[in-house]
Amino acid sequence: MEKKDIIQSFKDSLFTGLIALALFGPIVGLRTASKGEGLFITPQWGVVFLLVGLCILGRFLINLNSARKTEITFFSKFTSKFSAITRDKAKHFAITAILFAVVFPFLPFTDRYFMDVAIMILTYIMLGWGLNIVVGLAGLLDLGYVAFYAVGAYSYALIATTFGWSFWICLPLAGLFAAFFGILLGFPVLRLRGDYLAIVTLGFGEIIRIILINWYEVTNGPDGITGIPRPSFFGLPFKRSPDEGETSFHLFFNLEYSTMHRIIFLYYLILVLALITNYFTLKIRKLPVGRAWEALREDEIACKSLGVNPTNTKLTAFAIGAMFGGFAGSFFATRQAFISPESFTFIESAIIVAIVVLGGMGSQTGVVLASIFLIGITEMFRDLEQYRMIAFGGAMVLIMVFKPKGILANRKPTILMHGDKK
């Protein structure tokens, strides 16, 4: 590297610093806080100078590096190798992961906290797999997926509290309801182009949430629905002292009562539900409708000219995705025993989309890795809640910039015309 280049990149870094000062100066440097009546300003110049310094340094290092371009190629080599391993050894990988998931509750270090996190991760994996049908396979960006999650949760909660039916009857009903909503919402909007569709689905998600907040008679508004029945083990409730004429789980199996029983049961429940979603997706990819989804994703005009009805095909993807969202929603309702509109905000949709996108659209393994990564990291840095969302959004931008196909770029069609050309 010549001296001229170094001076050039130094100037460039200073310019970056100037911009950074303009960016962080007012927003970070002058923090507004209310004291009594009105707002006052507390300066925080230390933080600003730190941030500006970091920007200058970072820019300078990037400039020096861009002459060699080592960092990026190393990164992409690593990820492509990684995705090659997960693709070639997909079967081994899947079996190991499932085995681990099955024995996980009985591992020595597993405690209540780990179980809760694992259940949460599995819920997101299931949502991710459900959305992957819509986004990954059919190529429709749905920013309102949480609406179906909410419909599933609320229909489960309402049916279970009103009629007192068991989990196993309510679950399919909730899924059906969500699928019905998927068709209802999908029918008018699926003719729209990709980015318009994204905004409209976002609008639907918000409408559902506003209705949940305001329709007091049915949804109990912002207070939510309480006392949703817990699931039972095929009719055996998880209670310390069962009601008259009932046998509870621990009495039936002659075990010491423990709250962990219910948690472990919930864990296996969501594991099975998630695996069903995955199995279904893997199977349907090989059916004509699944192939039509992928074909539509790749080239809509070609599909139309070959006689594929785009609206109906997309509608099936939308409805099936919604159905799995509904299943996940009813699981959420029964696990929490309490739901309110607060759990179904736009940010939830954004998290699910982020999981699918980061994992690599269309890749089932990618969804698992992204969920573990995003939710696991989130749990580790619980106290840094706000910073975590910044990292979250930042990761979405970075992945799009450096690896637009996701960590596991596995977006190739299931079938190719002239065999598999690599």
Partner: protein, 303 residues
């Protein structure tokens, strides 16, 4: 009748704010064909910069018109920096990527900006004392007195002035010609010696400045802001841009006015709780039944 006129006045004021934000959406869509999802948050940043400068200048005791002018310029300058940086970081590397990539990147950027402001400025709502008070009263003899506050007059007049400058910029100057050329054919424009990257950057700068003015108006009009205002306002402004015909500048203003009116009349006559549903429903209905909007050009899909 008096009630109707009052709602009309309120609707036009709100519509001016939406219109100014909508211009940013429509310009960016026109030139690079993406929905700049983070634009609503740029508006929110503009509102915060305006709020901070109002507090600082409020302590100095300068005359009100000068404060307003200074805050306007400062908000435009700093917010434009945000618009420029967002474009450089999140959108520029994605030109030529697959269609949904910029949208996802924009979504990420929107989350970043929201939470960044939440961390930097706190999650609580920020109230501000009203700066411009008083107004004109009409129909003094009837039961319902129609009030047109000076603030509303200020907002509408400022919007008209900005629209005038902006229209001149786009139709009469070299910059405007370059922009319109980029909209039609970017490759050809580059071949003719126009710096396309710079033109796109300037588009973002102009859009962000106008959004920051809307942000300042929002602070003055509502007196309360928080880090989340950009989401709803952004969606509504996007609806406005679509309603007027995305890519069309007069359309954005017209759409803004319509959305402002629809929202106020809905809130005034139908139901206050569902006023946001009104905006979303309009968006959906417009996109389904006439996706080209009022003043837009039909979108031809090329193979």
């Amino acid at each position: 009748m008096e009630y109707f006129i009052q709602q009309l006045v309120n609707g036009i004021t709100l519509g001016s704010i939406y219109g100014l934000i909508a211009i940013g959406y429509t310009m960016v869509y026109g030139i690079i064909g993406m929905i700049n999802f983070a634009h609503g948050d740029i508006f929110m940043i503009g509102a915060f910069v305006a709020l901070i400068s109002f507090i600082i200048f409020g302590l100095t005791g300068v005359a009100l018109p000068i404060i307003l002018l200074l805050v306007l310029l400062i908000a435009m300058l700093f917010t434009a920096c945000y618009g420029w940086t967002v474009e450089k970081l999140a959108y520029k590397p994605l030109r030529g990527s697959f269609r949904l990539a910029p949208l996802i990147s924009a979504l990420g950027m929107s989350i970043v900006l929201q939470n960044y402001v939440q961390v930097a400025q706190g999650a609580r709502v920020k109230p501000m004392q009203p700066l411009i008070s008083g107004g004109l009263e009409f129909f003094n003899n009837s039961d319902f007195i129609v009030t047109v506050s000076y603030l509303q007059i200020f907002i509408v007049i400022l919007t008209i002035i900005l629209m005038g400058i902006f229209t001149y910029l786009i139709t009469k100057t070299d910059l405007g010609r370059a922009q319109r050329a980029c909209e039609q054919d970017r490759t050809m424009t580059a071949l003719l010696g126009i710096n396309v990257d710079r033109t796109i950057s300037i588009t973002f700068i102009i859009g962000s400045s106008l959004a920051s003015v809307a942000g300042m108006m929002f602070v003055l009009y509502y007196g309360v802001i928080d880090f989340y205002i950009g989401f709803l306002a952004g969606i509504k402004a996007f609806t406005a841009a679509v309603l007027g015909g995305i890519g069309s500048l007069p359309g954005a203003m017209l759409g803004g006015l319509l959305i402002g009116l629809i929202e106020t009349f809905w809130a005034g006559y139908v139901s206050l709780e569902y006023k946001d549903v009104a905006a979303f429903s309009v968006l959906i209905v417009v996109l389904i039944f006439f996706p080209t909007g009022f003043l837009g050009k039909p979108d031809i899909e090329k193979v």
